[in-house]
């Protein structure tokens, strides 16, 4: 399948990268002001995340983030970024991404999500469903036994999972001898990432199994020294499809959407007793007692 990327896509990709960056920057500010749940900043990974999402079909393909990647998954709908903002603000509803959004909730343990993605891809293959699963992980996870085991399992099962690892030049993957293809791509170029993910997706969909994509950016220890937004902006300007007015407009839109999302998150209902919902389908006696004791102390519904 040849993925056609037209000018409207290029503009949309840059706008999404701008939104991802703006949200990340604002969340870092908010967490400093309020000392509330910091999430990792997106830190130069906008091209990897937005590019990868552009090569997928949101109606069929799943994305498994660790956490901050949800900043750049606007292609999967505005709910993904909104809910991440709510999570960053410490609200439990941040993880409650409604169906049919095919994105898993953020989770706190770097690298744990790779095994989840492998299992989900495995289930799609067993059920002969057409989608693939893409999972992100970043270089601090790459020595993790969890991640290496999960990649090994993907390889053995030939699961239709695309694993995208962001690294910088000083900390490349120490690749083990996978049989699955390992592809290296420029992590600051969203179009290069789209191409690599599109090929990997074709492989997965035709039953040829998993791919490991290493998206490398110049830099040290996970901090890219090249700004992918600045680079891509220049490219679009050179093509005559971007200008300063569009840049300002995109930045303003990003700020406005962040403020709206933050307000939405701040107004989400919150009750102490929400903690007891969805521990199990039916609460245990112990949980019923604990909830009753809390209600007695604070008043039911508080």
């Amino acid at each position: 399948m040849v993925l056609r990327v037209v000018n409207e896509d290029l503009v949309a990709i840059l706008c999404e990268m701008i939104k991802a960056r703006a949200t990340s920057d604002r969340l870092v500010e908010v967490s400093r002001e309020q000392r509330v749940g910091a999430i990792d900043p997106i830190d130069g990974r906008e091209a990897v995340i937005v590019g990868a999402s552009w090569a997928l079909d949101p109606a069929r393909d799943w994305v498994v983030p660790q956490q901050f990647e949800s900043l750049g998954l606007g292609r999967y709908g505005p709910e993904v970024r909104r809910r991440l903002i709510a999570s960053a603000m410490g609200h439990p509803l941040g993880g409650h991404l409604p169906a049919p959004t095919r994105v898993l909730p953020p989770q706190p343990q770097p690298g744990a999500q790779v095994a989840h993605a492998v299992g989900l891809a495995w289930s799609l293959a067993l059920r002969n469903e057409p989608g693939v699963v893409l999972v992100f992980f970043a270089n601090e996870s790459t020595s993790s036994g969890d991640v290496l085991e999960a990649l090994h399992l993907a390889d053995v099962l030939r699961a239709p999972v695309i694993s995208v690892c962001s690294t910088t030049t000083s900390d490349r993957l120490r690749t083990a001898a996978w049989t699955m293809p390992t592809v290296t791509v420029d992590g600051t170029d969203p179009l290069a990432v789209i191409g690599a993910v599109a090929e990997a997706r074709d492989r997965a969909r035709t039953g040829d199994g998993p791919t490991l994509i290493e998206a490398v950016a110049s830099g040290e220890d996970g901090r890219p020294s090249v700004d992918p937004l600045a680079t891509f902006r220049r490219e679009l300007e050179d093509r005559g499809i971007w200008d300063r007015a569009m840049q300002l407009d995109a930045e303003r839109t990003a700020q406005r959407e962040f403020d709206e999302a933050r307000l939405w998150a701040a107004n989400l209902p919150l009750r102490r007793s929400d903690l007891f919902d969805n521990v199990f389908q039916t609460p245990t006696t112990r949980l019923v007692h604990q909830r009753a004791a809390l209600d007695a102390e604070y008043g039911a519904g508080a």
């Binding site: 095994a115 492998v118 090994h152 969805n278 389908q281």
Partner: protein, 331 residues
């Protein structure tokens, strides 16, 4: 032993597990069996399944316990019903983050969108002589992970009933299998469908002077002590919890009210074992029905012993003396 009903046959606890896996896999095409040697399973629990159901239902995986347990999250999200056997060679501990931080929390984290209909079979305890190499019982470490159910059959019929229930439960269930019990325990098992609800203890032995509370293989051990003491005129009841989470709090309260004297027997190390949870619950819910302080008999707080010191380490040989002391104690 009482007469067998026409729909029952006597099988070992291990065979009851095997039969249940066959029955559930026949009933529901989404049930999958995973494990390191799934063609056989530890001690043969999954024998015959690969031949019966094929390699898109039964999977022998490399020794990647953390990835296997983590993959069950994805399988459950995708609508499958995984039944995974975790290696008794430290597999649970290698998978603890996926177990406690992921499986246990996923329904909660996702607001109910992604329930984890997962069963993890956990053989533990090792055959005689293995406690230096295998972890022994450690159910307290698992019950402490909020969001997991933990059950422990003591009989062959409960192995079938609890495992059937576990596989059909939309929530994640740890199914504890005492390796000592696999072939040492046999009993009548219904040949048709058989379910045992969680959160319901049962009386293994009726008695009015002292109550022993136990689960898994220690129910058999405690029952032998109770039957021996009965010949000496002492009436010792044995309550089989069957289900640790959810816990039959009402059943425990009734047991305390019946005798006022309670001994908890467990195969795990005493400190922070599940016995401590049972006694804390008794204190919270039935303190004023006690005639004597509740006590526990457990494995010693030492690393697993070599074979020659196992009898000293395990609680089995200390139960009878503890019962006698409890009968003489006063509040």
């Amino acid at each position: 032993m009482s007469e067998l009903r026409p729909d029952e046959e006597v099988v070992s606890l291990l065979a009851a597990i095997n039969q249940t896996l066959h029955a559930e896999m026949s009933r529901d095409a989404d049930v999958l069996v995973l494990g390191e040697r799934a063609d056989e399973g530890s001690y043969g629990a999954t024998a015959g399944l690969l031949a019966a159901f094929g390699d898109r239902r039964v999977f022998s995986l490399p020794a990647v316990p953390s990835a296997m347990v983590g993959a069950t999250v994805g399988l459950a999200i995708g609508g499958m019903v995984p039944v995974a056997e975790v290696s008794p060679f430290g597999g649970v501990h290698r998978a603890m983050q996926q177990l406690g931080g992921q499986i246990a929390a996923f329904r909660h984290r996702s607001g109910g969108r992604f329930p984890m209909g997962i069963t993890l079979r956990v053989p533990y305890g090792g055959p005689a002589g293995a406690l230096r190499s295998f972890p022994g019982a450690f159910e307290g470490q698992l019950t402490n992970l909020a969001g997991l159910k933990v059950v422990a059959p003591a009989t062959a019929t409960d192995a079938k009933g609890l495992l059937t229930e576990a596989i059909r439960d939309p929530d994640p269930v740890i199914f504890l299998e005492s390796i000592r019990a696999y072939r040492a325990i046999s009993g009548p098992v219904p040949s048709g469908e058989h379910r045992v609800p969680f959160g319901q203890a049962r009386w293994a032995v009726a008695g009015n002077d002292v109550t022993i509370i136990a689960w898994s293989y220690q129910v058999e051990v405690a029952s032998r002590v109770a039957r021996k003491l009965a010949t000496q005129g002492l009436s010792v009841g044995v309550l089989d919890l069957r289900s640790l989470v959810p816990l039959d709090i009402g059943g425990i309260v009734d047991a305390v009210e019946r005798t006022g004297r309670v001994l908890v027997v467990e195969e795990s190390v005493a400190t922070s074992g599940f016995g401590a949870e049972v006694i804390a619950t008794i204190n919270e819910e039935a303190f004023y029905s006690l005639e004597a302080p509740p006590v526990r008999v457990a494995a010693l707080d030492t690393p697993g012993p070599t074979h020659l010191l196992e009898d000293v380490y395990l609680p089995d040989g200390r139960i009878e003396a503890a019962v006698r002391r409890l009968l003489e104690a006063r509040v």
